[in-house]
Symmetry: C2
Subunit: 559 residues, 2 copies
């Protein structure tokens, strides 16, 4: 090929896949469409575009350089949505801080990512104060204050004054509404955040502009192709109930903005208020973990009403058949998407074919299975390094994946990154089978973690803490199914021969203390303890948690 | 930013956007789904993937190098679909030859693109023979023969024997069904074809793998987000009635394969057979020019039946309100998409919001407007180099565009490429206004061309031919609206003072001769002639065709 012949024209636009390009459609098609921050604020997309410009001007005034990190600690707000765009569009990296982690871990993630600017909700200031805001990288804090909307602004605390650039709304109001976002390499990193998935310290993942744009297109195709009851359209009204610090709110804020539909950001999740907003603002689609679906159903049950066909993508933990049935019976079109922090996150989604007639049971199973690969996603099942080709709904293997939107490593942790990508595919550590229609079913997992209410619990960490008790000879913490939380940690303990009198509460007291000291989150405290004679081990002497989970499933750990 | 920190893991997959990746979803989700070639052949996607591998092995055996051009001259067949994938996936460039051009022009495009291999339908062999197959670049011909399916194979002509590698189906049958498609740069050119849009010789456009993948994602979002009646879903059954040599069949074969839905390729377009296939195979969506929609409606009217909600995207020429009304009344969900060869093609599409209630008139207008920008597409209206910001459905300007899927120049014609991309936006030469909802309406065009039955007619070329008549003093050919063909060429002629007796037929005889000699297509012969005293000119003495079209619209050229 003579490449000269296919040369670009001098002024041809090479079109980098940048987050700013996600706004192109809405800029002409959705000028008058609305964005709401709970009951506090409503503005149009036309205003939104100006506010993004204003925020970019504020950030620019703080002497940031391309590649600097800007961290956000906030509930789901219009500010968060504005940061999703203004921060990476200015060529800074957005760190979405998981404020549900223990304060120790929050500080760890901040000190690891080293943000120069922190957007800090006044509600989290005490957390920062108690732990002495020991984040030397932060040069400026932008103060986020819901009190201002409610007529009772919080005073900016004295200890914050030297750092504080000002209050968010005041800073935006004072800034110019014009900003010309530059073009740059689409592989520039746009976002980073931390997963406490496996063991020890949280690990940072990172995503480029290109990856986020492609993820947005990919999930839009998957969601929109579904039949109308489960599908997405221009008339939908969106509200997240997955926190925006969780894997880009599963990418849905980017998708909703690209399409230009009405959006509601609900602030802190209070079931009663969430249901108020769904009913009052006519929310038609959302997404969240099973625990929050249960809360919404519980709240609606109190009101003696049903939802009106609310579409809800469920992820983070398995949607059980029981919950799916209850959801459908109460007007919630619940179905599954699958992914993880490392995968941006979505790689599979339930599919609903407008021509297909499913029995009630088939319909429920369709909703609860792990889903079919999204366009472009190359999913394989591997067993001992070999690909499993059979789509017989029986042969299992680890889900490994290639997609245009997977983290390419862990931040400053190349060994873990190399392990993640062993063999050229990203390893999910989830075990699954697949059926003839390409629908996966996760059946087990390789990683030693527990997911409670959508948040990861490191079993190793809990084991380490509980093992400090003098009467513990051996310990394992496993995740056991829980109707409300998806999973809860259960501690399996072998006591030392001379400590047979020790009670579960004595040992759990250590976990309570660890929580109080900010070392572990509250949901890390085991909700059950069982004492055993010995723990199942593998041939090489490692704890065999697969066997333990199987034993639990067979009722061998009944109280 | 310390880029070292964000380094990829050693084995991380950087995921180039290659056409082969479009198959990932269907490979697990649509193994048993069907692809049909008219009534001649039906196979599954599982077979399709193997056939792509077989074709790749056949091509490989022909000593092709990366970047070599493989041309296809065929009606819409399974072979064409297989070539859409196997050719670019092997890192060759697919040339889709427009066989509706005059034979002269077909030869021009072949000699300009210089294919090494030509896939030639037996039906077009006489064209090649009559014009002496004067394409020295072609080293091998693969013979495509529908006769073989119909039990009456065509003999490969003697003059072809030295070039002919064999018959397509026989070659595939003899080849291995395994092929490992390599990864390569996503900016590698995948396709090329020619547009005879403006003046003189056809111009080559070209598209990379990346561009085709992004176009596929973009149009999928636009189509799938529409309300169910006009939207796309997993249950749809697709058949093109836009030829596959026209701008990748508008990209829909790539889209349908990515999603993994049932597909039918109808062969040569015969209205009766097309309607048979729609009725018998349950086709639910298609796309084509208004002329073919009229043919389908005419054929169905003969049968005394209506279509059953067939979705049909109309492009190439304006969908008139009258035709849209007839279509809807007869069960065709017709609506508009807009683009051109240079734009891959789709950049706007009609939108239908599942919540919106439109009156019958509003609904018809929605279908016939030019459409709303597809996601990522940056469309602006320019007037005298300035952007028109008003979305008032009145202020007009030229449509200029940036999107991730626009030709970056013309092939071996950099001057024309530079003109196309003047100012960093691709110039469509169409004039439009836009409304508050982002819906464009093309009102006029800058280019001096006529579009008849979806095919471009170069007015300059027709003018040149007719001006050869000794009695012609001045001439202009304009496109005038035509119920059946969208537009037809009309010749406006000023006769020399001493030739006032010359008749229209005498002058048109030159066009007839040009057609017979293969210089212009049949639809290039003007269907009407008007004699005038003088022709409207611009201030700089150029023919003012805008004024001529206005005069026609006002009835001033009535017979």
């Amino acid at each position: 090929m003579d490449y000269q012949d296919y040369q670009s024209a001098h002024e041809a636009y090479a079109y980098p896949l940048l987050i700013k390009q996600l706004l192109n459609r809405a800029k002409v098609a959705s000028k008058d469409q609305k964005i709401h921050y709970a009951d506090r604020l409503t503005y149009t997309y036309a205003d939104f575009f100006k506010r993004i410009n204003r925020l970019a001007n504020v950030l620019k005034s703080l002497d940031l350089q391309a590649g600097d990190v800007v961290a956000v600690m906030d509930w789901d707000s219009h500010r968060y949505l504005e940061s999703y765009f203004a921060v990476p569009m200015s060529q800074y990296i957005l760190q979405t801080v998981n404020i549900r982690l223990s304060p120790d871990k929050v500080l760890y993630t901040l000190n690891h990512a080293k943000p120069k600017v922190l957007l800090l909700n006044a509600e989290f200031a005490p957390m920062i104060q108690d732990y002495h805001l020991d984040v030397p990288s932060v040069e400026k804090v932008i103060w986020l204050d819901d009190g201002a909307f409610d007529g009772a602004p919080n005073a900016i605390p004295d200890y914050m004054h030297s750092l504080c650039a000002g209050e968010y709304e005041a800073l935006l109001a004072a800034a110019s509404e014009d900003f010309d976002f530059p073009d740059f390499d689409e592989n520039t990193i746009a976002t980073t955040f931390y997963t406490s998935g496996t063991t020890g310290d949280p690990k940072g993942v990172f995503f480029s502009h290109r990856q986020l744009v492609l993820h947005t297109l990919g999930i839009t195709t998957a969601f929109a192709l579904n039949a109308e009851k489960q599908g997405l359209g221009y008339g939908d009204v969106y509200m997240p109930v997955t926190p925006l610090f969780h894997v880009h709110g599963w990418g849905v804020p980017y998708m909703s903005t690209m399409i230009g539909i009405e959006q509601i950001y609900p602030g802190r999740y209070v079931p009663e208020k969430l249901v108020d907003m769904i009913e009052q603002k006519g929310v038609t689609f959302t997404h969240g973990v099973p625990t929050i679906l249960q809360m919404l159903l519980g709240e609606m049950a109190k009101r003696g009403r049903k939802f009106d066909g609310l579409k809800m993508i469920i992820g983070g933990s398995r949607l059980t058949e029981g919950l799916a049935r209850t959801a459908v019976a109460n007007g919630v079109e619940a179905f599954t998407a699958y992914g993880m922090s490392e995968t941006c996150p979505v790689i599979t989604m339930s599919t609903f074919n407008q021509k297909e007639v499913l029995s009630e049971d088939e319909d429920i199973i369709r909703r609860t299975k792990t889903g079919v690969p999204v366009a472009l996603v190359d999913i394989q099942l591997w067993q001992g390094g070999e690909r499993i080709d059979a789509q017989d709904e029986q042969s299992t293997g680890e889900i490994v994946v290639r997609a245009p939107w997977l983290t390419q490593s862990y931040f400053k942790n190349h060994d873990a990154g190399d392990e993640l990508w062993q063999g050229g595919y990203l390893h999910t550590q989830d075990i699954a089978h697949i059926n003839r229609e390409g629908n996966l079913q996760v059946t087990d997992r390789l990683k030693d973690v527990i997911k409670s209410g959508g948040e990861w619990v490191s079993s190793l960490e809990i084991e380490t803490i509980l093992s400090l008790h003098p009467s513990v000879a051996d310990i394992a913490v496993i995740g056991v199914p829980d109707e409300k939380w998806g999973e809860r940690p259960m501690a399996l303990i072998v006591k030392k021969p001379d400590c047979q009198e020790t009670k579960a509460e004595d040992i759990l007291a250590l976990a309570e203390q660890a929580f109080e000291r900010g070392m572990i989150p509250k949901y890390g405290i085991p909700s059950q303890v069982r004492f055993l004679e010995q723990l199942p081990k593998t041939s090489v002497g490692k704890l065999d948690k697969k066997v333990m989970r199987d034993m639990f499933a067979k009722g061998l750990f009944a109280e």
